[in-house]
Subunit: 226 residues, 2 copies
Amino acid sequence: MTLETGHRSAPASEQELLQRAAAVAGQSLAELAAMLAVQTPADLDHNKGWGGQLLETWLGASAGSQPTPDFPELGIELKTLPVDTAGRPLESTYVCTVDLQPAPGGWHDSLVWLKLQKVLWLPLVTAKNAPPGERRIGSALLWSPTAEQADILQQDWEELMELVSAGELEHISSRQGQYLQIRPKAANSRALTRSFDSDGNASLTLPRGFYLRPAFTRQILQHHFH
Amino acid sequence: MTLETGHRSAPASEQELLQRAAAVAGQSLAELAAMLAVQTPADLDHNKGWGGQLLETWLGASAGSQPTPDFPELGIELKTLPVDTAGRPLESTYVCTVDLQPAPGGWHDSLVWLKLQKVLWLPLVTAKNAPPGERRIGSALLWSPTAEQADILQQDWEELMELVSAGELEHISSRQGQYLQIRPKAANSRALTRSFDSDGNASLTLPRGFYLRPAFTRQILQHHFH
DNA sequence: CAGGATCCACGTGTGGATCCTA
DNA sequence: TAGGATCCACACGTGGATCCTG
């Protein structure tokens, strides 16, 4: 394995992407950070995305924050997934921002579907109270939803977007959705973004994001590694 | 409706049983207790089975505590089910005692299967902190497991009984089993009953029972009352 | 502002314990 | 001791809040 620093070219194929992931499987994030000449923080309190961005760099994901999959040419989205020592996901997984002034369009036009069609799940094994550097990179899983999973994701998305489109944002609860939920996605609870109410009038509300529930990502990992 | 006291003859048919159940649907347990000339306790702390036994009396279930369905001629087991005001089961449901020195025999010979083949679920609507007399009798549901439900119950039973038969009782956790679990069923944690260990030697352990998880009975009621 | 995510207080669920009757 | 069940402390899950980077 060659030690490289700085940015890296995008992988040319699924195979190359999987090889890059396999090359660091078993390593700690501190080891990967050293290879990339990046500092390892003592905690994630003020840098929650550190692990994900470290692996984006290593794997050669497109820089920047664009509403597209991380590897546009491959149609693959990268998601790191904090798991406990038994391999069970510990947190929900952010998918994308909810468009609160949505253009017309169905599930198959949605950003959620675009991003979830093919995902490279990269477990980060996180022991209790362990610092970020001690997290270990697990075996990557290149996943696409089964027909059943896609059906339920679509149902969830349609149920939620129906309310968004009707301006019923205040009637959306994080408890809705079997696999997919809508939760706040903002700097803080005072942040505001443009939306509209049920009368069609412009208004301002807390920005929201789509998230996958832990129960769903647990199912995905169990299904493949059990 | 005739007011009757004391014991009642067993119902001669499913239809008669369902009619007796329908006759008290909507009533409070205090009203039923008055009809049966039974005292209503102020709480259930020292009489947890009061509601169940009241309805056994009203419906004409066989007296006594025998390891058979409550209506042997009809092959029907009666289960009262405490539910919240939204109709969601609040507690697990006791099925029967676990035989800790089991005779050989499969799922279809088991007491669990015998009792669960046909169950009359009788919801008892229980508002928060409401006394026993204020519980209201709901609409009865005569249920038999679907093929899928029966499959999972069988899987659970086989997984659990394999451990019991191997004397691995101490390795059984209440967390095992998707629908069916094994939990203590005793006067207290010092109670002991005969069993044997993994070396085949006689020993004494806490008596256990089979229980249905609330998630399962919620599924049953939802499926029928949607 | 979109994407990279985690933090943590608090409500819900339930595993273990328990009680009465026949 | 089998059957009728419920009680309740506490672990666990998660909904709402939050933080950094490009």
